[in-house]
């Protein structure tokens, strides 16, 4: 069988699934560019009447969606920085040193990665309420870090293990302290791994729903996914044109970034995540 013929067959076999995957994107795009009266009518079509960007303007000017995006960004950046700050030293110790109870610790992290925060949501809510952190972005930053950190440690460990030890040892012999060898030799070498881990943590935090929904009760503190879901909850006519514009803004940049790192993700998963 020629490669061309095989390609046609492969694409044909995949097409039903690919259509289902792409259908929501087409829906988002088509609806976000429509005007309100085009949606609530009997004669609807996929193509918008004109290339209408007014929904985006309305979203930012009247609905303050910018604030939800800023909240999401603050939380995601904060959670990424905090989880890397604790995960990098831990992953370094677990790959380079003799940590007492190493395997117990690794198993513990693995199990915490499987515990869904939603099962513990009442406990989480009460704990943050006790510290007065409900409605504070800080509570979600801390919660996200704690739940996404195990995966970060796991990914970083698999990258760190690929860096040869000799380089650092050479640096120690040349008189570098452990810390400066770590910063000047080790970190630059595993920077790609750290970046991929950071992006993945960022995307996870950006997309998280249940904890943000529960810990941030005030509308002004809502993250983008929570606000979008919140907009569908009105008893009055749901403004789908605005909602689709919002999902488009909140999902496409993340999808592009994710698509660009998926290669590394597959590598990292087969190295450490699943094995």
């Amino acid at each position: 069988m020629s490669k061309a013929r095989k390609s046609v067959l492969c694409w044909a076999a995949l097409s039903p699934f690919l259509i289902v995957v792409l259908f929501p994107y087409l829906t988002m795009l088509s609806t976000a560019l429509k005007q309100k009266d085009e949606i609530f009518t009997f004669h609807r079509s996929w193509l918008p009447r004109e290339f209408y960007l007014g929904n985006f303007v309305e979203l930012f000017v009247d609905r303050n969606f910018g604030r939800a995006l800023v909240n999401s960004l603050t939380i995601s950046v904060g959670a990424t920085l905090l989880s890397l700050a604790v995960a990098i030293p831990a992953a370094y110790a677990l790959t380079r040193m003799r940590v007492p109870g190493n395997s117990a610790l690794t198993n513990y992290l693995l199990i915490t990665q499987m515990i869904s925060p939603i099962v513990l949501i009442i406990g989480l809510f009460r704990m943050f309420a006790y510290f007065g952190l409900i409605n504070s972005l800080m509570s979600v930053i801390i919660a996200h870090s704690a739940f996404f950190m195990a995966f970060a440690v796991w990914m970083l460990k698999s990258y760190f293990a690929t860096i040869p030890k000799d380089l650092e040892e050479a640096a120690w012999i040349d008189g570098a302290s452990r810390f400066s060898a770590f910063v000047r030799i080790f970190l630059p070498l595993c920077l790609p791994g750290v970046v991929v881990t950071a992006i993945f943590t960022f995307v996870n935090s950006w997309n998280e729903y249940a904890m943000s929904l529960t810990l941030l009760r005030d509308v002004s503190q809502q993250t983008a996914p929570v606000q979008i879901a919140f907009l569908t909850g009105t008893l009055y006519q749901i403004e789908w044109h605005l909602i689709m514009a919002a999902t488009l803004i909140a999902s496409v940049p993340v999808a592009v970034v994710f698509a660009s790192i998926q290669r590394y993700l597959i590598g990292g998963m087969s190295l450490g995540g699943v094995k």
Partner: protein, 313 residues
């Protein structure tokens, strides 16, 4: 001068490495400590708190009153909605995980072949992974909207009689659609695991079997499937864990309705806690779910350990 310069670092380096193992492992513990502290506080304390609430009488605003033994559990188990949610959780988990495996295995096999545009196909297949479950659910809720959704619009344009059909009004249909969305969002992760498994199968095996006259279907049955099985097991267990307590799809698409017919355990618990203020019941439900999660986690650890042991041999 230079002799001193070069000799001192070597001595200290040696000292550092031959230095007592104790101080070294103490340093290692210090590096691990922040990670452990964050995890034990934010995950460990809520576990303790939920277990405590489940055996105490808790007021609406969360004041823990007297010891209640298994009172909360008995109350929870005698709630018909809870029992119904248990069954629905079973259906949800089995259907989503089973459907995901059925869809993912052929997709992974195809993506493992060499063909034009494979990278693009792979990117599209993995796309649902990048999007928030909450936003996926919102978009699908609109897609299947009876009056304004793009599904009915497309079906009517094709001449099918679905104009104005309210997909989410009927509980059975709504639950089926939610299961399909659940499958859609679980496929990317599953395909990733299976692709990892497929690339680990050495080509020489296929070459040898082709030399022995085996046909493609035989190779699939007797080489690919048995060698892929450990990866399928892992994918099944991890999917069970993720799907079992998946919250946003059902919460956003139907909120458990109509009349609790699409509630699963996690949406039931969330309603008990944050809509009805029955914190004791919610805590008991959480403990039951947590125990089940632990069982799955242990199965996962066992599977990966067993695989690790085989790899060593």
């Amino acid at each position: 001068m230079s002799a001193i310069d070069s000799s001192t670092p070597i001595r200290t380096a040696r000292l550092r490495r031959s230095g007592t193992a104790q101080s070294n492992s103490l340093f290692a513990l210090i590096l691990v400590a922040p990670c452990l502290l964050l995890s034990v506080t934010v995950i460990g304390y809520p576990i303790f708190d939920v277990i405590r609430m489940s055996v105490f009488d808790v007021s609406r605003i969360g004041v823990v009153r007297e010891f209640a033994g298994f009172g909360n559990f008995i109350k929870t188990f005698s709630d018909p909605v809870f029992v119904q949610a248990c069954w629905q959780t079973l259906v949800w988990t089995v259907a989503v995980v089973g459907g995901t495996m059925l869809v993912s295995i052929p997709i992974a096999l195809i993506l493992n072949e060499e063909f034009y545009g494979r990278t693009i196909a792979r990117t599209i297949v993995l796309l649902p992974w990048a999007i928030s479950l909450a936003m996926t659910a919102v978009v699908w809720r609109y897609v299947v909207n009876g009056d304004f959704g793009t599904l009915n619009m497309t079906l009517s344009a094709l001449g099918l009689p679905f104009d104005g059909y309210p997909w989410l009004a009927d509980a059975r249909m709504a639950f089926t659609l939610e299961i399909l969305v659940g499958i859609l969002v679980s496929v990317p992760f599953t395909v990733t695991i299976l692709l990892g498994g497929l690339t680990s199968i050495p080509d020489t095996l296929y070459e040898a079997s082709a030399m022995d006259g085996a046909r493609a279907l035989h190779s699939l049955r007797y080489i690919t499937m048995p060698l892929l099985w450990p990866f399928m097991q892992i994918a099944i267990v991890l999917n069970v864990i993720y799907v079992f307590n998946s919250f946003p799809i059902i919460w956003i698409m139907t909120n458990g309705g109509p009349s609790n017919r699409t509630d699963i355990l996690i949406t039931y618990i969330y309603k008990q806690a944050f809509a009805f203020g029955k914190l004791g019941n919610a805590a008991a439900g959480s403990v039951i779910m947590f125990a089940m999660l632990l069982v799955f986690a242990v199965i996962y650890l066992y599977l990966t350990k067993a695989r690790g042991a085989r790899d060593d041999v």
